[in-house]
């Protein structure tokens, strides 16, 4: 059997989940032997090929991220999401209590560290969605690993199960939302 092809997508997130993925210690060697990393922050490949497993960290906060999630969903057989942002909206969803305009004004104009700020409006940059959403609000997700960030052990468990052909659900004693 050839290597399992994996593509990852880092959406509205802080990199904590990626750090946690790197934190699996020597399992990363087993992983590298069993898995071919295609598009990922490590390989710097820009395009999604057709893959077996798609992995998303982060919520859907901008139109570009929505497109990216849909593209990866279309090109992968199994989609796994890591972290509270991807599973529930997480930190990114904290802005959802405020209208989008207020969020942008606070960040780009009113923020204490900003001088003569203006809200970026170039057509080349992605547009903030009205609300940050969990990934399963946009595309079908097959496997969820919550946690902020998920513990390295949780990620190892989920990936090991996937490599052995099972779709994992974290057991109660492993689940953490924080």
């Amino acid at each position: 059997m050839g290597k399992v092809k994996l593509a990852t997508s880092w959406l509205d997130a802080c990199a904590g989940c990626e750090m946690s993925l790197l934190d699996v210690d020597e399992f990363i060697i087993d992983l590298a032997q069993a898995v071919e990393f295609t598009r990922s922050p490590i390989t710097d490949i820009k395009e999604f090929p057709e893959v077996d497993v798609g992995l998303i960290t982060g919520a859907i906060g901008m139109d570009e991220q929505e497109e990216e999630a849909k593209e990866l969903r279309a090109k992968c057989k199994i989609l796994i999401v890591l972290g509270d942002c991807a599973c529930f909206g997480g930190i990114c969803a904290m802005r959802n209590a405020f209208p989008k305009e207020e969020v942008l004004r606070r960040a780009y104009i009113e923020c204490e560290s900003v001088k003569d700020g203006k809200i970026p409006s170039s057509p080349e940059i992605p547009v903030l969605l009205e609300k940050a959403l969990p990934v399963n609000a946009v595309v079908k997700v097959d496997c969820f690993v919550p946690g902020c960030p998920p513990r390295a052990g949780d990620i190892k468990y989920a990936l090991s199960e996937l490599l052995q052909g099972r779709i994992p659900v974290l057991p109660s004693e492993m689940m953490r939302f924080d």
């Binding site: 529930f88 904290m94 959802n96 399963n136 969820f144 109660s172 953490r176």
Partner: protein
């Protein structure tokens, strides 16, 4: 209710026993069958609002919440079918999507019943769209925060506030998904009738109500839990102290809805940490007149030399000792022995000795003579009372849990409340009748009330000096009708209780106590029910040891004064006048205060959490506090300081 009929149910195919009147959930719990719950809290009424405890019952069309379903003989119940588990997971997802339940920055994460149920049901995502409502957070209270984002509307806070605390500050506003827990008529908690007792915080299953002083200090799972006794006020509440890395994380009532499990703002929040600078080394006044650190040996030697010096030159009567009745009995006893046996002075007093003198003289000159403090009732008598007369006391300020007993009696069976106080007293605003006689005219009022009650009952209490209504109205400046109304209320009471406190005890007027006890005797049908609000945690213990000097020390003008105030809060009102006149002042204290500033020698003393010992509650019950923290290095136990000093005399 012990003679309730035995019933037999079939739960999950097993025959189990229950009692008639139990709910299905109670039968499950009694038989160790776990049923998940959120809105249920033992000791509170059941409302069935969370629906997590649903069960299948043969003969019922739908699944039913077990917490509200009455158990009956022959019932066949299933608690864990796949169908029920499916619904429970669904309910959790609905709760999570209804509000903003994000755990990663929540103070209750790791200590949250909603979170642990979500883990239990492996809820790694929600299948429903999140509503992300914009909800307010109320942070104006000194100790409590209500974060509506995390509220699941279980109503445990509302029920505990109404049913246990008796204050009923919290309730629901609006309907359906717009429902919010509010204080009073939608005030912020800090501006409401809330007494900050924190019962709601302890009852809250999530982080919707959390304590400012305990947030992020540590998780219960990382903490050691130590059962102890709150030694602040003499109610003698049982506390559960959570300790992590020699820091107090949180203080909980041992059993929120059980006896002695309720706490107040002082016991629950103010004791968690105190930012007043600690005294950690013995301090001795040097030649320049400044206090400077000294070794224990030097400090002991200096104090011992001075004591020997004054004793030799002016006699033991030139030396006096004052001790705070926040100290446990062991310390009090050691201090009294040091003064009486080692030094030989009879001048020992507690800092609240004047209350003791008013109390004992009052009892001895009333018709209740000869029984001393034994005439007093247990605090729990308040809970059964149908009419509470509170005189010269605001129990919600001085002994908040005792105050809550009054509120609970009012909430549960509409007990009447009469407040008599010549000083402004906010407890009066909660009363049916609030009488404010002119200062010093209280005894006339007691006499008039006693006369009216005795006349109605046609009893011939000869011991009491009754006053006429007209005379009382003139002396007190009160309306005749108001006095008559209060007397009528007392007359119709079946189980009246009289509570009196600092307003009577601090007047140095034992006659007031005597007249009040006479009134209590006329009013009582079912034996005398009197409770006095003694000022501190071990006041009664200190007084039973005979530490409070019968005559006071005011006239003696002692030259060397030793004050063991430990962690007692320094208040100008408690100022020991003798300390001011003393030529040599020794203060043994935990915190720096104006009193330590003017001392010649300051000895460090442990705080409540760093000592253990015996306490006698205001109604005479013996309890024991435990050591929950290791003291900072160099701080010795009060008894050790005293015994080392005694050896040097």
């Amino acid at each position: 209710m012990s003679d309730r009929k035995e019933i037999t149910l079939t739960i999950n195919g097993k025959q189990v026993e229950g009692k008639d009147g139990d709910t299905v959930l109670e039968v499950c719990r009694a038989n160790e069958i776990y049923v998940p719950t959120l809105c249920f809290l033992e000791g509170l009424s059941t409302v069935g609002s969370c629906r997590l405890c649903v069960v299948e019952i043969d003969g019922e069309r739908r699944i039913n919440p077990s917490c509200t379903y009455p158990a009956r003989d022959g019932l066949v119940v299933k608690t864990h079918t796949p169908n029920l588990e499916k619904y429970r997971r669904l309910i959790l997802e609905l709760i999570f999507t209804e509000r903003n339940h994000f755990c990663f920055f929540c103070a209750a994460s790791g200590d949250c019943e909603l979170q642990s149920q979500a883990y239990r049901y492996q809820m790694d995502h929600a299948r429903y769209p999140y509503t992300f409502p914009a909800l307010p957070t109320d942070t104006l209270n000194d100790f409590l925060v209500i974060d509506h984002n995390r509220c699941i509307l279980c109503g445990r806070c509302v029920r505990v506030c109404g049913e246990v605390v008796g204050n009923h500050t919290l309730d629901f506003s609006r309907r359906g998904w717009r429902t919010l827990v509010v204080a009073d008529l939608n005030q912020s908690l800090g501006q409401s009738s809330c007494i900050s007792c924190g019962a709601c915080q302890q009852a809250c299953p999530t982080g919707a109500i959390f304590s400012k002083v305990s947030a992020y200090r540590g998780r219960p799972t990382e903490s050691e839990v130590i059962q102890s006794l709150c030694s602040l006020c003499g109610v003698g509440c049982e506390i559960k102290v959570l300790v992590k890395n020699n820091n107090i994380v949180r203080i909980d009532g041992s059993q929120l809805t059980g006896p002695k499990g309720q706490l107040c703002d002082k016991g629950r929040f103010k004791q968690v940490y105190n930012e007043t600078p600690r005294i950690t080394k013995p301090l001795v006044r040097n030649k320049k007149g400044d206090l400077e650190p000294a070794s224990w040996e030097d400090a002991w030697k200096l104090v011992a030399d001075k004591i020997n010096d004054y004793k030799g030159r002016q006699g033991a009567a030139s030396i006096a000792g004052f001790v705070s009745s926040l100290c446990p009995t062991e310390t009090l006893d050691a201090f009294a022995k040091l003064m009486r046996n080692n030094i030989g002075t009879s001048y020992v007093d507690t800092l609240d000795g004047s209350s003791y003198r008013a109390l004992t003289k009052g009892i001895s000159t009333s018709s209740q003579d000869g029984k001393g403090l034994a005439i007093e009732s247990p605090l729990e008598a308040i809970l059964d009372s149908d009419c509470v007369l509170v005189v010269g006391s605001n129990p919600l300020e001085s002994h908040p849990v005792a105050g809550c007993y009054v509120l609970r009696a009012r909430a549960r069976h509409k007990a009447k409340l009469i407040v008599i106080d010549s000083r402004p007293n906010t407890f009066g605003f909660r009363a049916d009748i609030y009488l404010r006689p002119k200062d010093g005219s209280e005894d006339t009022l007691f006499g008039a009330l006693g006369g009216l009650v005795a006349k109605k009952a046609k009893s011939a209490e000869k011991q009491m000096r009754f006053s006429s209504l007209a005379k009382a109205a003139q002396a007190t400046g009160l309306d005749k009708a108001a006095i008559q109304e209060a007397a009528a209320m007392l007359s119709s009471a079946k189980k009246p209780v009289v509570i009196y406190g600092e307003g009577i005890l601090n007047t140095n007027n034992p006659k007031l106590v005597a007249r009040l006890l006479d009134l209590a005797k006329v009013v009582s049908r079912d034996g005398l029910k009197v409770v006095s609000m003694k000022p501190r945690g071990n006041s009664r213990g200190a007084w039973e040891l005979g530490i409070a000097n019968q005559n006071g020390i005011a006239k003696a003008k002692p030259k060397l004064v030793y004050v063991l105030m430990s962690d007692d809060a320094f208040e100008m009102g408690d100022w020991v006048p003798q300390a001011d006149q003393a030529e040599f002042l020794v203060v043994q204290a935990s915190y720096s205060s104006p009193l330590t500033d003017c001392a010649d020698v300051v000895l460090p003393s442990p705080i409540w959490a760093e000592r253990k010992g015996k306490y006698v509650s205001l109604d005479g019950k013996v309890g024991h506090s435990q050591k929950v923290l290791e003291p900072p290095s160099g701080i010795k136990d009060d008894t050790e300081i005293i015994s080392k000093l005694a050896k040097k005399l």
